[in-house]
Symmetry: C2
Subunit: 189 residues, 2 copies
DNA sequence: GTACTAGTTGTACTACTGTTCAATTTTATG
DNA sequence: CATAAAATTGAACAGTAGTACAACTAGTAC
């Protein structure tokens, strides 16, 4: 058998399977956070959700904190990609951001809630803080393509964050036009 | 002995002491949230912090949820009073709000963090949600004294919330002037 | 004094927690 | 084939969780 890639690098089937398992466990963690909140995350609940054993969860993530860091990183990565898409795509960036925020009311609600729970955890766990900061840094980067005024950038970040809170906690209106109007207030001259 | 108030109502020393104890337990709960986060709140940790026994904590608050609701309510009440002060006091209301938000970086950091932790909990516990909404409703009321534009009101609420996040999670600048400038962007014509 | 109520304590039970570890299976290497 | 490495399992340990409950103390009313 020739177990090589096009690059000629060997692929260890064991490690590949391990990576898959690791990803499954992270996904299971997010499912648990979505269902029961961050407080519901234990090696046992995660393992059960992933259909494996407790020991395997500790095999990949020695401590619960490691697991939470990995889960938050995963969500942050996804959001980073989404925002980078908006930045790189020609067109109205504020409208794109408004649509992304509006998703927090529907399909993206679970993800947004999970991100928020983990971000709150981060306030108390230093290793989590850089990861939690990413969402805000990404918005700031998007804002920087629209204005040079630092106050306007800070205002857009704050508005985005506050709008998400409103949607998640207040069941506020998730009309993209309304959201865009609020965002526009932050960056207009 | 004449155990009556000016109104002539009898005061039961036992009940009075009970009310004091109840308040002490709530205060202890906030201290625990401040130190270890909402996840650190258990009947035992709270009782230890309050200098009483576990059973007494369950005597006043049958379930942990009851205790968390009471603690969040206490914080929300304090914030409500602060904001009402700003509304009722003549002068620049935005400057007052900016000073209040800036406190989240210093003396008020613990309180603000506790409120945020409990508010995040509230997303998942329906009985907590109305209490968690109060902070935002109060800001909206303050905003309503400055403008009639619903978008501007929503923008000020979102900006206030986002600025607090920035301070708590990013260690962002807590300069009242900077904060006021960002807030001003939300409500100006 | 007695009777009653509110507050308070210590104890105990069951359930679940993070974590460890030796044993086992699966896969790769030579 | 044999050997080693990675993945996976089951069981176990010690610690802590929520909660219930009977017993006890302190304050009230008559």
């Amino acid at each position: 058998m020739d177990d090589t890639t096009d690059d000629g690098e060997h692929i260890d089937g064991r490690r590949a399977r391990g990576e898959r398992r690791r990803a499954e466990i992270i996904e299971a963690t997010l499912a648990v956070v979505t269902r029961d909140g961050a407080a519901g995350v234990t090696h046992r609940t995660v393992a059960k959700q992933a259909g494996t054993t407790t020991s395997l969860s500790t095999y990949y993530f020695a401590t619960l904190d490691d697991l939470l860091v990995a889960a938050l990183t995963s969500v942050a990565d996804a959001y980073t990609a989404r925002i980078r898409d908006i930045i790189d795509t020609p067109g109205d960036k504020l409208a794109g951001l408004a649509r992304l925020i509006a998703e927090s009311a529907g399909s993206g609600r679970e993800r947004a809630l999970a991100e928020r729970e983990l971000a709150t955890l981060a306030a108390r766990r230093p290793p989590l803080r850089p990861v939690a900061r990413r969402w805000r840094e990404n918005i700031a980067e998007l804002a920087a393509t629209l204005t040079d005024d630092p106050a306007a950038i800070a205002a857009l970040v704050a508005a985005s964050d506050g709008l998400c809170t409103a949607i998640l906690l207040d069941n506020a209106s998730a009309d993209p036009d309304h959201i865009q109007a609020v965002l526009q207030r932050a960056v207009r001259d």
